[in-house]
């Protein structure tokens, strides 16, 4: 009995609930000690054989990171110990384009997660990141011939240094927030996508992020540029093993949608419950361009993530469609930012959250309209479903409207699972748990229906697992 509460026993218990909770033995080419120093940053840059200008950016960002205080306006980040994190772990020598060349144990991990299988079935390209580096990437040949670039960020810096230099940090400056600065200092991996003018990538490109080591920091950096009239749908998924010590995931994602192009960026995040997930995502949409963030937040200990869209020029459209599931011990602090910089721009936010077993879901959003941005439309809707009295939901919407000639709507609802709904489903033979899960799936349906079928099925399965996690 005495052992039941030991750390090992608890971790074991959590592991058996979380399907992705297995871990691999570590057999790495390079693993930094704990903590972050100027020397380590120089070493990372040297190992990557980066140009001098990138090292300069990193070192400057490191100073910004140190100078910025820990944000206190959102979730409780006091548990993060920056000295107790491995900032750079290189599992293999290079990103392979042939699956067979990926180290065996990493291959097994991704096999278990279904990665190459998914690629064969329905993806136009795949990238797989393990710890700090992308270990595998591929793209359909016909797309490559059309000039579509889909690389890991390090590879892009080597092969297309001028494009990277032109856009890197132009959407999210290093000084934006403490974690964006940290990412800029130690970034590694992530995806780089460039879609040439008029090219429409008909099926999704996918990246998969896996943290394996304990006390690991993953800092991928993603940059997507769509040239005029082009289209791409990018999907990312993430998981990590369960440890008693916390890991940190602080990504930066920058999107640039040039005139008349469209980017859809879908995230299905399912981190284990010991990951701090503090991600900065921002897009710029130019004339008649559209950006859609489809953001699914399951798992993690704390998530702070507010995908943003800057509507730069007339006719730009932005949409954030997000769900958050906050279970036991979790705080999902998620939301959206829409900044209307030009007239005749429009934005839509639909945020749906569920809290359960004492979990906490917060919506934090901003709609900002600059004085010259006339005739804009913005519509924000947040729905929260609270499954038990221990759980909590809050909304923190901010409106900063500098122009009178605008159409703005905001609506927020908080509800519980209705007894009559549960009874109705039970009268048709569903158990009480299945009935509640069905109601929850229905609540998330406006999100799920935007996903490719395979992901929708997977998401419903994950929600079912989350729902079962509480029973007993």
């Amino acid at each position: 009995m005495a052992d039941a509460s030991t750390e090992a026993a608890i971790v074991q218990q959590i592991r058996s609930d979380y399907k992705y909770g297995f871990s691999d033995a570590e057999d790495y080419v390079f693993k930094s000690g704990k903590g972050l120093t100027r020397e380590l940053i120089m070493q990372i840059s040297r190992l990557k054989q980066e140009p001098e200008w990138m090292l300069d950016i990193r070192l400057k960002a490191f100073e910004v990171f140190k100078s910025k205080p820990m944000p206190t306006w959102g979730a409780d980040l006091s548990g993060i110990d920056f000295d107790d994190i491995h900032y750079y772990v290189r599992p293999s020598e290079k990103a392979e384009t042939n699956w067979d060349d990926v180290p065996e144990y990493i291959k097994n991990t991704f096999d278990k997660l279904g990665i190459p299988e998914a690629e064969r079935k329905f993806l136009a390209g795949v990238s797989a990141q393990y710890e700090s580096e992308v270990v595998y990437h591929s793209i359909r040949e016909d797309l490559e011939k059309l000039g579509v670039i889909f690389l890991d960020m390090d590879g892009a810096l080597r092969q297309f240094p001028e494009i990277v230099r032109q856009y890197f940090g132009t959407v999210i400056p290093m000084s934006d927030n403490k974690f964006a600065a940290l990412n800029t200092a130690v970034w590694s991996g992530g995806s780089f996508i460039y879609v040439p003018e008029g090219v429409k990538v008909d099926i999704p490109l996918q990246a998969y992020f896996r943290i394996n080591a304990q006390s690991m920091g993953q800092f991928e950096r993603t940059l997507i540029i769509t040239a005029p009239g082009s289209f791409v749908h990018y999907i990312e998924g993430c998981t990590a093993p369960v440890y008693s010590k916390d890991s940190l995931h602080a990504a930066v994602v920058e999107l640039i949608a040039l005139e008349g192009s469209k980017i859809r960026y879908t995230t299905i995040q399912n981190w284990s419950n010991n990951v701090y997930n503090l991600v900065t995502k921002r897009a710029k949409a130019f004339r008649n361009a559209a950006v859609e963030w489809i953001d699914g937040n399951l798992g993690s200990k704390i998530t702070m993530k507010y995908p943003a869209i800057f509507l730069m020029e007339e006719g730009a459209r932005g949409e954030v469609l997000s769900i958050a599931f906050a279970g036991k011990g979790q705080h999902q602090d998620a939301g959206a930012k829409m900044v209307h910089l030009a007239p005749h721009t429009s934005s839509t936010v639909l945020s749906k959250s569920i809290s359960k077993d004492g979990g906490r879901a917060s919506y934090r959003g901003l709609v900002k309209v600059l004085p010259k941005a006339e005739n804009i439309r913005s519509n924000v809707r947040c729905d929260a479903l609270i499954l038990d009295p221990e759980s909590r939901s809050d909304t923190y919407p901010t409106m900063d409207i500098g122009n009178q000639n605008v159409h703005i709507g905001h609506e927020a609802t908080v509800s519980k699972v209705g007894d009559e709904q549960v009874f109705y489903l039970m009268s048709r033979g569903l158990s009480e748990d299945d009935a509640i899960t069905m109601i929850v799936n229905g609540f998330f349906e406006p999100f799920t229906k935007e996903l490719p079928l395979e992901y929708a099925v997977e998401l419903n399965r994950l929600i079912k697992l989350e729902m079962e996690g509480s029973v007993g």
Binding site: G418, Q421, F423, Y424, S427, R428, G429, L430, I439
Partner: protein, 260 residues
Amino acid sequence: MSDPLLKIENLHVAVEGKQILRGLNLTVRPGEIHAIMGPNGSGKSTLSNALMGHPSYLVTSGTVTYKGQQIQELPADERARQGIFLAFQYPTAIPGVSLGNFLLAAVRNVRGAANVKPLEFRKELMACMKDLGIRQDFAGRYVNEGFSGGEKKRVEILQMAMLRPSLAILDETDSGLDIDALRIVAEGVNRQVTPEMGVLVITHYQRLLDYIKPDFVHVLVSGRIVQSGGPELALELEARGYDELLRTHGADAAPVVAGA
């Protein structure tokens, strides 16, 4: 005579601390159709909900025996799996859940997952929808969300057709239906009735009973059955109204000895 399918004895049911059913007795044998009529608020839906196992409808005394077993303690899903079906007076909307997915889950739970093949299920569903005049695209619509009153009632009967119950309780299935829809729905019910099955038709009006012909008619007033008879009783009630019965048996009338 065959064993009863359903035997309700001295049933007392309270809702939110209020006693609604006060000693109700009723026996339904396989193959029988019973109509229960009564004024608004007499407890008809309370009886339906209590038979289906709604947790807010508390059986304070008495028993409900179904296929030889007492079921008053069973949860609703267990009753559904044993073949009891309730067509609701006010079906609840389940946003985001498509009728097709909902019905697949329901049919799997009631008939057993192994017995339900998706393709055959689909064929059966489409056939049943056609019989009830429900457009095919309803399979993709969210359960009862934005349905008209009549559409809800049709879809209740569709569920009955798919779940193939042994005991069907139809709670005011006729309300909200125009005359054509009433005929289609009633024909749908009649098609499903088998010699093994029992049906409780709860209605306020006689007109449904022109289509679904009851073997017995009971009048429920203030939580008790105060009169029983053959189909002619329904016509009588239609002519007479409930006023007289309410005067003799209503809540203010002298108490009747329960179960006597």
